[in-house]
């Protein structure tokens, strides 16, 4: 059973003055130890329009399985997802989690370049003197998705730990596609997403700040138009001089 926690159901009051503008259907799904969590509609968040295409989602939610989550995300259907997600395992035993964020995009991208990055913190929230966050079965903690398919991943075989009461450790999860030349990505028709997959010790907290950006690759025609316009502008400047 998949449970979809719609982040955004909500901020109706926040955006009622712009009733004609609908926020993107930015969602996340939570799976705990292989089982979909709760079933609660996530009506605890808010959404605000930040610019013509950018939306800011934030909120928090504690489910009946002893998992407490909060999120703060800026998204653009153009598209990018950027923000911070935190989770506390309030149970007495370690648990594995899979968190899927999904953002519908518009327009579709025939050929993309992609970039992403993540970093995070792990905290001994219950003061037990230790905390750990590891990859589940050696997989990646961060996976970038396009149309729900793998694009890139970060933090494979992660093993982060804290060894002091109420201690905190920061970790850099790395990046992809931020250098030159741009990293080629797939055609993207409907969604981009970020998946977090990890195992967290009892009573402890983890937070991830991450980014996933997809840009369309200019078509040859568009490139030619761009170069032509530059040449025209240059000639214009010469004549003026």
């Amino acid at each position: 059973m998949k449970v979809t926690l719609a982040l955004l159901s909500l901020g109706v009051a926040t955006i009622e003055s712009q009733a004609s503008i609908t926020p993107p259907d930015f969602q996340f799904r939570v799976f705990e130890s292989g089982v979909a969590s709760g079933g609660e509609a996530c009506n605890f968040g808010s959404v605000n329009q930040v610019s013509a295409t950018e939306w800011f989602f934030q909120g928090n939610h504690s489910n009946t399985n002893g998992t407490s989550m909060s999120w703060s995300y800026l998204v653009d259907p153009d598209p990018f997802i950027i923000g911070t997600f935190s989770l506390t395992n309030e149970t007495a035993f370690g648990k594995s989690y899979v968190i899927d964020f999904s953002l519908p995009i518009s327009p579709a991208i025939a050929q993309s370049t992609v970039s992403g990055q993540m970093s995070g913190t792990l905290t001994d929230s219950n003061g037990s003197g230790s905390a750990s966050m590891t990859s589940t079965n050696g997989g990646a903690v961060y996976t970038a998705l396009a149309d729900e398919m793998f694009v890139q991943s970060l933090m494979s075989n992660a093993n982060q730990s804290v060894s002091s009461a109420f201690g905190t450790t920061s970790f850099s999860g790395g990046s992809f596609g931020q250098g030159f030349p741009p990293l080629a990505g797939p055609a993207i028709n409907s969604t981009i997403g970020i998946r977090y997959s990890f195992t967290l010790s009892a009573g402890d907290s983890v937070s991830f700040s991450s980014i996933f950006v997809a840009n369309p690759v200019p078509t040859p025609g568009a490139l030619a138009m761009g170069i032509l316009s530059l040449l025209v502008a240059r000639r214009g400047r010469r004549r003026t001089a």
């Binding site: 808010s46 800011f56 506390t88 913190t121």
Partner: protein, 235 residues
């Protein structure tokens, strides 16, 4: 003779326990405050009791195109010997088109009898969600821990972090321990964040501040005395 030694041993343990108990940790809840150059905002905090001696706080401050959210702010105390809190995860977001200042204070209200030893830690990330070079800075300490309004430790002094457009910068993690606090806590222990975020910036932090009782001279004397008593019993 054996009975006499047993009496001394049991009395010593009882004195040790009562000495620790005199440290007396009590907590009366949490207090959150946010000030920002953005202007006034609406603050909401929801406390939840998760164990008989621990509370979790979740809430937010919402201003015009700016926000501060916190979750899993857990404040707890272990019997009578230690107390501490973590701010959970605090996220500060500037959605305006200009740099903005933020000051966020998280306080654990309560008392604790000194002397104490304190420990703390802080770590975080900075996300630049704008198309321009972004920065996170502080004048003085970005993070400070205080007792009854007096700062006892600072971290990330004169912080200066940059991030390219749509990139994340790890702020690292910093900690301290065995910090001697001579006085008692009479009102509150607190964590304070003070920073400036460029347009479109987001900073998130996890930090903690904890302290425990220092055994008094009488307790130390008893601790030293116990091996002697045991040694006599063995003889």
């Amino acid at each position: 003779m054996k009975n006499k030694n047993n009496f001394i041993f049991i009395t010593g343990i009882a004195c040790l326990i009562s000495s620790a108990a005199s440290a007396g940790f009590n907590s009366s809840g949490a207090l959150f405050s946010v000030t920002s150059s953005v202007g006034s905002g609406t603050l909401v905090n929801v406390p939840t009791q998760i164990t008989p001696s621990a509370w979790s706080n979740t809430g937010s401050w919402t201003g015009t195109n700016a926000s501060v959210t916190w979750a899993n702010d857990i404040q707890g105390w272990n019997s009578t010997t230690s107390a501490g809190f973590t701010n959970g995860n605090i996220v500060i977001r500037n959605n305006t088109s200009a740099a903005q200042d933020f000051a966020v204070t998280v306080a654990m209200l309560g008392t604790a009898t000194g002397p104490l030893v304190a420990a703390g830690s802080v770590g975080g990330q900075y996300v630049n969600g704008s198309a321009s070079l972004g920065s996170l800075t502080s004048t003085g300490a970005l993070w400070s821990a205080g007792i009854d309004g007096t700062t006892v430790n600072t971290q990330l002094n004169n912080a200066l972090f940059f991030a390219q457009p749509f990139q994340v910068s790890s702020l690292g993690s910093f900690s301290f321990s065995n910090l001697a606090i001579g006085n008692s806590v009479t009102d509150r222990a607190s964590i304070r964040f003070s920073l400036r975020l460029s347009a479109g910036g987001e900073a998130s932090f996890t930090s903690a501040f904890s302290f425990q009782a220092v055994p008094g001279p009488a307790s130390l004397a008893l601790i030293g005395f116990l091996p002697i008593v045991r040694s006599r019993r063995r003889r």
